[in-house]
């Protein structure tokens, strides 16, 4: 190992203060309270500042972890948040919901000694510190490239693409189907785990950067993707995995049987827990059973509990196989959620008014490991049993929303209804269309969606800068090839006349004049320019805003 061993190892991982279970089970306020500054600095000072930090290897967006941790240790919080934001647009979100125990903290060198640095809590601390200062620092935005990108879906994947591309000078518009941005962060993950004010703050930051946000706009319905492509140079699809699965067992359409999406959307997006102050109604159930074992199931069960119900999780395998984050399972247990393991519902039984009253279920035992490596549950014959409930939430998973696939001929779709996209670049089968996040992978995590967004943004940016941008100034706009040549010729200072031969042009853009070498391309109605002085081999462009798109300086480069 390469870590310096100068100071004495401090393995005391600082616990983050939390609301106590007895209190928090009656409110919707955030469970974890965050480090105070002194605790954060103490925790950060434990980091060994490894030369080859193993934590970074396991971070899907490659945050400079030792870098920001060091700055927190030194009390330089603005510095820490700057380092974080170089790689992560949503640190306040990721610090709260990322499965760090499976990522950076899992590979921290100190993990073997049980003292891995609490990277997530520190990330959260830095982000919250910035929010508490009232205003986020806005980085410099380069001059506009004149290129337009449409982002479909305002979840973590879409937000990341938007943030990355706006910082490279492209114009970005997000189209979101719902009335609020954030995707699952807004409609799915509950207030007590991820306060909506934080998501709102992150979205607001994008707005400050100049991203255009259009809500209430369903791509595929309000406008087809093909139509959007006519107006935009590139499109990114981050539509998420929003199609809820049901188990197709009898009684699933009884009143009181919800999909997790419905249950959580009513609560979070529509603020049902504040009904009737907010208009969207929710039921105050007494006995709620949540079917499933992932983060979604934990969120539903803990929500039901906070609304005053006896809340149970019904999972067909055992505790060990629970796919939810350990921290959330522990939180749920502390709050008094009852877990029924090795249990599989086979039928819902209703009363004469159509309300669910009982679940019939089978007990299971664990058999051989399946494809996922987890031991697969096998029903025990004759173990049918009844359980009294007055609501069931089905949290067994989601698949990609079929709206865009169904309305976009030519887009290649995988077996699971996912959009097929290249893993390294996010490119889809359609020209100028990229995709990433849950819509490609199926339901995954926030940080993986962001990572996919980052890769796609890089690829989109490469594509946009490889384009030979048309010089868009008024004399040429909408001009035919002849008028274009006219205009070009009259400004030509030397070299070949029009056609395909290179020539030196003097371009007048607004009040500024630029010299450039270029040519009129007959078929494309385009004038290409490139770096005048050094005349590099690649032909480049001068754009309307007056910058060379390679070096971003105006005039001669």
């Amino acid at each position: 190992m390469t870590e310096p061993q100068k100071k004495k190892l401090d393995l005391n991982r600082r616990e983050m203060p939390k609301q106590s279970p007895e209190v928090r089970r009656f409110n919707f306020s955030e469970v974890a309270l965050g480090y105070p500054a002194d605790m954060a600095m103490a925790e950060a000072s434990r980091c060994l500042q490894c030369k080859k930090p193993l934590c970074v290897n396991n971070c899907p967006v490659e945050i400079n972890i030792p870098g920001f941790v060091k700055l927190i240790g030194e009390g330089d919080f603005p510095g820490a948040i700057r380092v974080l934001k170089e790689k992560n647009l949503l640190p306040a979100v990721c610090g709260r919901v990322c499965p760090q125990e499976e990522q950076c903290e899992k590979t921290c060198v100190l993990v073997k000694k049980g003292g891995q640095i609490a990277i997530g809590r520190l990330e959260r601390f830095a982000a919250d510190w910035e929010a508490s200062q009232g205003k986020a620092a806005v980085p410099d935005i380069p001059p506009a490239t004149g290129r337009k990108v449409a982002v479909v879906g305002g979840g973590p994947a879409g937000l990341t693409v938007a943030g990355d591309l706006i910082l490279r000078g492209h114009a970005v518009t997000i189209f979101e189907a719902l009335h609020k941005l954030g995707g699952v962060l807004t409609y799915g993950i509950p207030e007590f785990r991820l306060p909506k004010a934080i998501v709102g703050w992150e979205v607001e930051y994008l707005k400050t950067l100049g991203v255009e946000l259009i809500t209430d706009y369903v791509v595929g319905k309000t406008r087809t993707l093909a139509d959007i492509l006519k107006e935009y140079d590139a499109v990114f699809i981050g539509a998420g995995a929003g199609l809820p699965w049901f188990m197709n067992i009898p009684g699933e359409n009884l009143n009181g049987v919800y999909s997790a999406n419905e249950y959580l959307t009513r609560m979070n997006l529509m603020k049902g827990f504040l009904f009737p102050e907010y208009d969207t109604p929710i039921k105050r159930h007494r006995k709620v059973a949540v079917v499933g074992g992932g983060n979604v199931a934990m969120d539903c069960a803990r929500t039901a509990l906070r609304l005053g119900a006896d809340s149970k999780i019904i999972y067909r395998r055992s505790r060990q196989e629970l796919p939810a984050r350990l921290e959330e399972v522990e939180n749920a247990e502390e709050e008094g959620i009852v877990f029924e393991f090795l249990t599989l519902p086979i039928r819902y039984i209703g009363d004469e008014r159509g309300w669910v009253r009982q679940i019939e279920y089978l007990k299971m035992q664990l058999g051989e490991p399946d494809a996922s490596g987890r031991r697969s549950p096998v029903p025990i014959e004759g173990s049918e049993t009844l359980m009294d409930v007055d609501a069931v939430v089905c949290a067994i998973g989601n698949s990609p929303n079929p709206m865009i696939p169904a309305t976009t001929p030519g887009l290649q779709i995988g077996k699971k209804g996912n959009i097929v996209a290249d893993e390294a670049t996010g490119k889809t089968s359609m020209d100028r269309v990229w995709a990433g996040g849950d819509v490609v992978t199926g339901a995954a995590t926030v940080i993986l969606a962001m990572g996919a967004g980052r890769k796609a943004a890089r690829s989109i940016h490469e594509y946009l800068s490889s384009l030979l941008l048309p010089i868009r100034f008024s004399a040429f706009r909408n001009g035919s090839i002849s008028s274009l040549r006219e205009a070009a010729r009259c400004r030509m200072r030397s070299g070949g006349r029009g056609g395909r031969k290179p020539a030196i042009f003097c371009l007048t853009l607004g009040s500024a004049r630029y010299d450039t070498i270029g040519r009129v391309h007959e078929s494309q109605h385009i004038i290409y320019g490139h770096h005048g002085k050094t005349a590099p081999p690649k032909i480049r462009v001068i754009t309307e805003s007056g910058g060379c798109c390679v070096c971003r300086k105006s005039g001669f480069c």
Partner: protein
């Protein structure tokens, strides 16, 4: 945000609202709907689009004041904004060369079936429009329907206009037409949809109904709108709202629509009383 351009009560309890929504107006087709929120705290409710003007970028909504949200909508005026108008959602009503089509509309469905009748007529079908209501004073848009219908029939529950009774009288009405009906399309309250389907079932006449389960997102994400059609579960917002009325599980739909009946009452009573008391307080010197 969408601006309300005009708003009026067309008949008691039923309002029409012309809203600025250029993106919707550019794409909308007969039988599609929008999701609306009256204000920022508001619930999302589906409303069919009853007319539109793509050039002006406007759509017309016809809605019946039945509860909290429609009550809020009814209280808005021209110049106010709706927090959300999103669409067009759902699959458009099939407009084919059917021959003779009977379009049946009741309450808000009189409005929403109008563009369907208009499109069928333009396509060259014979259109028989049937308007059903409790009483003659609840009928509207008769003049519009005259222009797009070959025959316009009125049924009122109390017999104050046209036939007396309800849609189950359609068979005897059909006999008087002297020509076979090839398809029936029904818009309106769930009871009308069900009754019309029951009416036509013995005659094996294709009957298309526009279902109206509870909805939230309208994009296939939440599943609250699920209905059973021919033993299969469908999401009405994306697979419908039009379905074959003879295959719909009506019992289930009627039950599911009642899920929030207790809470809906709370909204109406709570808001009404509060507003009322606030108004009284304000009036005091």
């Amino acid at each position: 945000m969408a601006k309300i351009l005009t708003k009026q009560a067309v008949v008691p309890n039923i309002h029409s609202m012309v809203v600025e929504a250029p993106a919707v107006a550019a794409q909308i087709q007969p039988g599609q709907f929008v999701i609306v929120r009256a204000d920022d705290d508001g619930e999302r409710i589906p409303l069919s689009v009853s007319d539109w003007d793509a050039a002006a970028g406007t759509i017309t909504l016809i809605f019946m004041e039945v509860g909290g949200t429609t009550g809020k909508l009814a209280a808005l005026k021209a110049g106010d904004d709706l927090a959300t108008v999103v669409g067009p959602l759902g699959i458009p009503t099939e407009i084919g060369d059917f021959g003779t089509v009977m379009c049946i509309g009741g309450c808000y469905g009189i409005g929403s079936i109008y563009p369907i009748a208009r499109a069928l007529k333009a396509r060259g079908n014979k259109v028989i429009t049937v308007m059903e209501s409790r009483s003659s004073f609840l009928l509207y848009w008769e003049d519009r329907f005259k222009k797009v219908s070959d025959t316009l029939i009125v049924i009122t529950r109390d017999g104050t206009k046209g036939y007396r009774g309800h849609v189950s009288r359609a068979p005897e009405i059909m006999k008087t037409l002297g020509r076979p009906v090839h398809r029936i399309i029904v818009n309106g309250c769930t009871y009308l949809l069900k009754r019309a389907s029951d009416m036509s079932r013995p005659y094996e006449m294709k009957t298309i109904v526009s279902l109206n389960p509870i909805m939230i997102d309208g994009t296939g994400m939440c599943g609250v709108c699920r209905v059973t059609v021919g033993k299969e579960t469908k999401f009405a917002c994306v697979h419908g709202p039009d379905f074959d009325g003879h295959l719909v599980d009506w019992e289930e739909l009627l039950q599911r629509r009642k899920t929030y009946i207790v809470e809906e009452e709370i909204v109406v009573t709570a808001s009404r009383c509060e507003d009322h008391h606030a108004a009284i307080r304000e009036q005091r010197p």
